[in-house]
């Protein structure tokens, strides 16, 4: 088995305890891994703005992969090192169709979250009670718009991800069919009822692959860790793909190794086994 030279880990449901708090044992394992010369990189469906304070607080160094593999940033400075935006023609169609078929959607650049607000029963993604108590300086910035054109003005050229929610968790077949005719998309799901739409070339596998290439690291020297369907791509691709014990069944089936559940040190255990104790 090849040496692991880098670890790429999902955040929510894997590395994190809650939206802004990582598990201490995972942070400790990360520092030990970094001390050994093996970086630990976050790969998240969040955008940079939403995750940046966390990156600094938890001590992530080097690079971070955000928007479900659509961009790579420097973890500390936030500089954009790579971006795979959705081409504007496809983006416009994705927004238009999403609005037509289900309505609830947000679109993201690295630093902006743009929310289409003209919908009954609108409830922002990831709006949780525990965020209400969070210091305003840590809160995410969001922009509320009333038209697709306004969205395109803000996103133009840098729209990386469209997040869509369906009341019945699925969405009508005609929506997907229209979307497929509008472009070449990669669609994943980070949570039941939520869909992420990106351009072909993004996705966590795409982001991880791109970073590995930039750092001259071969896939067999990469360990990835995740829990959800949107982690499957990077789990299959990496030399060692780890599913935490609390991951979805299908994700565990496809992994090379199933670790402890995320809230029992799943990430720390994998780092110890494959990086620290070899």
């Amino acid at each position: 088995m090849a040496d692991i030279k880098i670890v790429m880990t999902d955040l929510d449901g894997t590395f994190m305890h809650s939206i802004f708090n990582p598990f201490p044992e995972n942070v400790e394992a990360m520092h030990k891994s970094q001390a050994k010369g093996v970086p630990v990189v976050a790969v998240t469906a969040r955008n940079y703005n939403c995750a940046s304070k966390l990156f600094r607080a938890a001590g992530f160094q080097g690079h971070v992969i955000i928007n479900n593999g659509s961009a790579i940033h420097d973890a500390q400075t936030g500089e954009t090192l790579w971006e795979n935006a959705i081409p504007d023609p496809w983006l416009y169609e994705a927004l238009r169709l999403s609005m037509e078929h289900c309505g609830v959607m947000e679109a993201y650049t690295s630093n902006e979250a743009v929310i289409y607000k003209k919908l009954p029963g609108y409830n922002p993604f990831y709006q949780r009670e525990d965020e209400a108590d969070v210091d305003p300086s840590l809160q995410r910035t969001r922009r509320f718009v009333e038209s697709i054109d306004e969205m395109m003005n803000i996103l133009s050229g840098h729209g990386q991800l469209v997040r869509v929610r369906f009341p019945n968790n699925e969405g009508p077949g005609s929506y997907y069919e229209s979307l497929c005719r509008a472009g070449e998309f990669l669609i994943t799901t980070s949570n039941p009822g939520i869909m992420e739409i990106m351009a072909a070339g993004s996705g966590k596998r795409g982001g991880c692959q791109q970073l590995a290439r930039m750092l001259n690291i071969a896939p067999e020297n990469v360990m990835t860790i995740g829990d959800q369907y949107n982690d499957v791509g990077m789990i299959i691709w990496a030399g060692i793909g780890v599913a935490v014990g609390s991951a979805k069944e299908r994700v565990k089936e496809l992994a090379d190794y199933v670790s402890l559940p995320f809230d029992q040190g799943g990430v720390a255990h994998a780092i110890e086994k494959f990086v620290l104790n070899v």
Binding site: Y92, G173, R250
Partner: protein, 281 residues
């Protein structure tokens, strides 16, 4: 404009008059381009078997990008220069779910399409007629399956892309798409109405053309790309000169540098002759 050394062209809706009909003007234009030192290669969503007739008649250069970028075939030997199969477990999961949803399933390998479905699509014989009129060696090859397990086990290791149609051309259910999405990361596109094309990560026309360019040692600025559909936008934008056909949808035209005449008016040939002339000065 930089010197164009390679022309890449979509087939259906672009180079071809209709699905089975070649345009003689376009064939002559290919020859003229080649005589002027410009290579011409097809980039198609079809598998090689379904494109063989058009490719042979047109005398394209050796390398053909097929299956929407999942394969590059040397047409002289019909061997893969590049292939990107779907993961076997993903094929199994997707095909099983599609069967549960009563969808019509086409699994495209390089050399044939494996089909399975509750009933074959209506007017199948009508659709097959033009193929049957061709000489034997130019007909498309189809393996029809009655047994789902046989379909999966015989094809899951060599599947380049999967196309699904709703039974009786009905809409496929949302849960089926969700199930597909849960299996991993795929590219989803649609090459014609009421169908979904599922390709492995890494299979798009733009990636196919990028690989082709690398194989031939040609820079993107020296490439002209022709297309008409949304799955052509990637290569149209990436190539030095992107050409959208007159029959293309508006947002495809918006992505191009040049809008040609429609495919039914030999728009391809017109642009190629203009190019040859401008480069001969």
């Amino acid at each position: 404009m930089n010197e164009i050394k390679l022309i890449v062209t979509d087939l259906d809706g672009t180079y071809l008059q209709s699905y089975h009909e070649l345009n003689r003007e376009n064939i002559k234009a290919v020859a003229a381009a080649q005589a002027a030192g410009i290579m011409v290669c097809p980039v198609t969503a079809r598998n090689f078997d379904c494109a063989r007739y058009a490719i042979t008649e047109s005398n394209f250069d050796a390398y053909c990008v097929t299956n929407n970028g999942a394969a590059i075939i040397d047409r002289r030997t019909e061997e893969h220069v590049f292939y990107n199969f779907l993961q076997p477990e993903a094929v199994r999961a997707i095909v099983s779910a599609a069967a549960e949803a009563n969808a019509e399933i086409d699994i495209f390998t390089n050399q044939y399409v494996a089909t399975y479905g509750p009933t074959q699509l209506k007017n199948m014989d009508e659709r097959l007629k033009p193929w049957l009129e061709k000489p034997e060696h130019l007909r498309r090859h189809e393996h029809r399956y009655q047994d789902l397990e046989a379909l999966i086990s015989e094809n899951c290791n060599i599947a380049e892309n999967i196309t699904l149609h709703g039974h009786e051309r009905e809409e496929m259910p949302g849960w089926l798409y969700r199930r597909i999405i849960e299996q991993g990361e795929f590219y989803l596109t649609s090459s014609h109405h009421m169908c979904i094309d599922i390709m492995a990560y890494g299979s798009t026309k733009i990636e196919g053309v990028q690989r082709l360019a690398a194989i031939l040692g040609i820079d993107r600025k020296n490439i002209m790309a022709f297309g008409d559909n949304s799955n052509d936008i990637g290569m149209i934008r990436w190539a030095g000169v992107g050409v959208a056909m007159g029959n293309a949808r508006d947002f495809v035209k918006a992505a191009a540098d040049i809008v040609a005449a429609p495919n039914t008016e030999a728009g391809f040939a017109q642009e190629v002759y203009k190019l040859i002339e401008s480069q001969s000065k």
